[in-house]
Amino acid sequence: MSLLPTPRRTRATDRADAERLPPRAGEVIDRRRTVGFRWNGTPYTGHPGDTIVSALAAAGERVFSRSYKYHRPRGLLTASYLDPGCVVQVGDEPNVRGAHRLLAEGMDVRSQNTWPSLRFDVRAVNGLASRFLATGFYYKTFIKPEVLWPAYEKVLRTFVHAGEVPPDSAPGVYDKRYAHPDVVVAGGGPAGMAAAVAAARSGATVMLVEEEHQLGGHLRWGGPAELARLAELRAQVAAEPAIEVLTDAVVGARFDDNGIPIVARGVPGIDERLVKARAGVLVVAPGLVERPYVFAGNDLPGVVLSTAVRRLVNLHAVRPGRRAVVLSANPEGDAAVGDLESAGVEVAEVVDARRGESVRAAHGRSGLRVVELGDGRRVEADLLVTAVGWTAPTSLLNQSGDRPVYEPRAARFVPDPTRMPENVLAAGGIVGDGDVDALVEHADAVGREAARRAGRSASAAVAVPALPVADHPELFSAGTGGFVDFSEDVSAKDITTAAAEGYDSVELVKRYTTATMGPAQGKLETVNTVAVLAAATGRTIAETGTTTWRPMWAPVTLGALAGRSHEPVRYSPMQPWHERHGAVPLIAGQWIRPEHYGDPAGEVTAVRTGVGIIDVTPLGKLDLRGPDVASLLDLLYVNRWSTLGVGKVRYGVMCAEDGVVMDDGVTGRLGEDHYLMSTTSSGAATVWEWVENWLQTAHPEWRVHVTPVTTAYASTNIAGPRSRELLGRLTDVDLDPERFGYMQVRTGRVAGVDGCVLWRIGFTGELSYEVHVPAGYGLHVWEQLMAAGADLGVRPFGVEAQRVLRLEKGHAIVGQDTDGLTQGFSAGLDGLIKLDKDDFVGLPELRWQRERDTAPRLVGLRPLDGMVVPPEASQILDRAGGIAGRVTSSRMSPTLGRSIGLAQLDRELAEVGTRVTIRLPDGRDVTAEVTSPVHVDPEGARLRV
């Protein structure tokens, strides 16, 4: 007959608190209140302060998930954030750490990776089949036939061990803020608290960050002495206003110059907050992580760590089992024995590893039934508690440049103080061992030193007392099998096999077996992996080394990382009018501007036959002042500027030093030493930096002041044969063509607004005036233009009409009709480039390009069938069917009633009159004739009226 009671199957509500103990001194639950939730659809209750799993454990549940590969039942192991068997789905949220997340009313908690149910999972793999799923099996199978791999893969994907994200997942609330604490303390145990208090008392501002829901670390589950000490430390922390305490929060990483992301949950009204701290000094005090023991059956529900038992009993007042075996190698294990006894658990056997006693294996199906001891005895038990040692979670130290070294005497890695950067310190168990007094004394010195290094106290360097490491037996594996990585279902045998196959370095074994790559990021698994590998290869643990500890310490939601969306958008002052008049928006970089107002072809016709106005505010504009502006322009543009008179504007093109076309625009000379330069909309910022670059790094002696004024002016282009008539109704500037000719600039008053700049230019090929008005009056002037031009049939036109108009006129668009390798002579700039200038940016490359004369050319293109509009990017073929060029711009011309285009075309085919073949996207070929790029009014007569 079994010594264990048979679990009784009852309704869950009957079992609430079935395993709950009488009140404990350090318990964190509020027994006066209950919290209702559902577990796999069944209602349960717990208390405020319970984690999801402590409430379920209190109700007698012991299985919380199925494992990744073999779908083995898994229960509680660490009872902390790291617990690999307690990952659950909560509502929309996948992969919730059930042994850490506090219970909340109405939670819908479900097990993950189970089908059809947690209790009966059809994918569960028995011991025999698991041999075939051994490490590396994917690499060795499904190789042939190749055509079947996609089908295999589909099946593999159904095995995925994870929660799910519904496509209509409700939005979350995430926050992000910057912080500049003098000291960040990672870890709120006794050492962290003491370090924080000492730093604050030395004048530092401190952020004290604790992963759990309360400060205190292991003191919380200690006896009366520890609890008294805890209360004292908490009071000291609370008394320091310079300490900001963040619980349920983690230091995610340590980046360059102490850039420290802190991820905080539990902030009211916020799902998760990312604090971007830039700390003077980082104090690393995460304590130690208890390490599981590797032996056959070590993943059975009921096999737990000593710290897990102590948390469960003392914090949540849950009886973890009925009959226990304890494997202890340290005081924590011994204390667990006391806790179990005080909780009424029968301790059937204490196996003292310090006396050479051991555990060989655990047996059971859905939970532990029998423990097999090293001496061969078999003990019935539903609980096996192991206390075999500690892992120092050195991740933040490694990220700081430290290389912790293995200390065999203590059976763990310890920091190498010689490699710690000046702005990082460590305290507590990660450094060494001692009683609470020793830890606190050490941490107090560390805290004072941290404040000093952060520049908050002028004292001499603080002498930090030594914190020696205590002896601990090296206990990693019983050599009987078992799991090394619970999250990834990697067994000791897998590691040994991998090493034997040649994957015998720690990085290769990690990659081959995926050990340490799961959600705990190696904090539970790394050292055991290293130890098993070391044993398999005959090397020491120190020789074997560890894998890289990468950010993040704990996984962070994408929502918190993203924070609020900061995607700047820019609007012209006329935007309200555009919105009211049905403009279809076009997103052009940060700018939102009208693409058209419903009828782009009609807009084109209005410009060609009457008058239209377009908002061109996004055009880049730079105000240039000083006696050396002309020299600057001569250097940056390929054409000549020193000859430009006051009151004149000129078109210019800039190339980079490799001769590639960079930007273009017109620049006007407003006064003797005053110019206004325009750039493309997308190039505005780049050109400004470019100008400053040449001024600051090449010609600091030039006296030029550059000020970006893109949005100081609202810019409107008034275009069409009746543009003069329209503008004349609103301005005091003399528009007489004799006195204000083509390519000239004037300043004056428009619609009652002073300080306007008027350029007579012609991107559209029509008589046109570009009016730049102080931006605050942009909407006013625009409305006045529309009103004053009503009888002239004035129409607003958008970017699409402008594209057609400029294409009819053969004006290339930089970046569309050119690309990242298009040099000046391939952009139709032959007449503009002045190779006889002494210098300009890109001159040598353009000189060589001219000499070679082999580069592609920008040409006009007309399909013989004028009704065919070849889509832009259609390829042009040479006679052998190879690529000879491409259509860069293509539209139906409302003015000509036929299709027209621009193309980049190989030199040999670029002569006017040549017929070329265009391959359309649908596969058809059409013939087109090469023409001049200028399709409408090649003489420019319409511009000079």
Binding site: D257, Q696, P700
Partner: protein
């Protein structure tokens, strides 16, 4: 991200700056051979160690800076204004 100690603005996150590249002298365009010019255009010393670079503080003082930076550790040992030579000590 590393902090870049701007001589004008003090230490700022590197995201406020634009990396322009290794400081390289421009050959005389009148006499440069294609080899010399394209060496200037394309070839980098690309050291794993100390490098003298140009950075532009686009979200701050809008000055071009000459920066001595270690490309592995990201330590920065000297920063001056590219035009005026001003260092943090000399900035007002």
């Amino acid at each position: 991200m590393m902090l870049l100690p701007c001589p004008w603005c003090g230490p700022r996150t590197a995201t406020e700056f634009r990396f322009v590249g290794e400081a390289r002298p421009r050959p005389d365009p009148a006499t440069a051979t294609p080899e010399q010019w394209r060496h200037y255009l394309y070839v980098h010393a690309n050291p794993c160690g100390w490098s003298t670079e140009t950075w532009y503080h686009r979200a701050g003082c809008r000055r071009y800076l000459s920066v001595e930076r270690h490309t592995l550790t990201h330590e920065i040992r000297a920063v001056r204004d590219a035009a005026t030579g001003t260092t943090a000590e000399a900035a007002p």
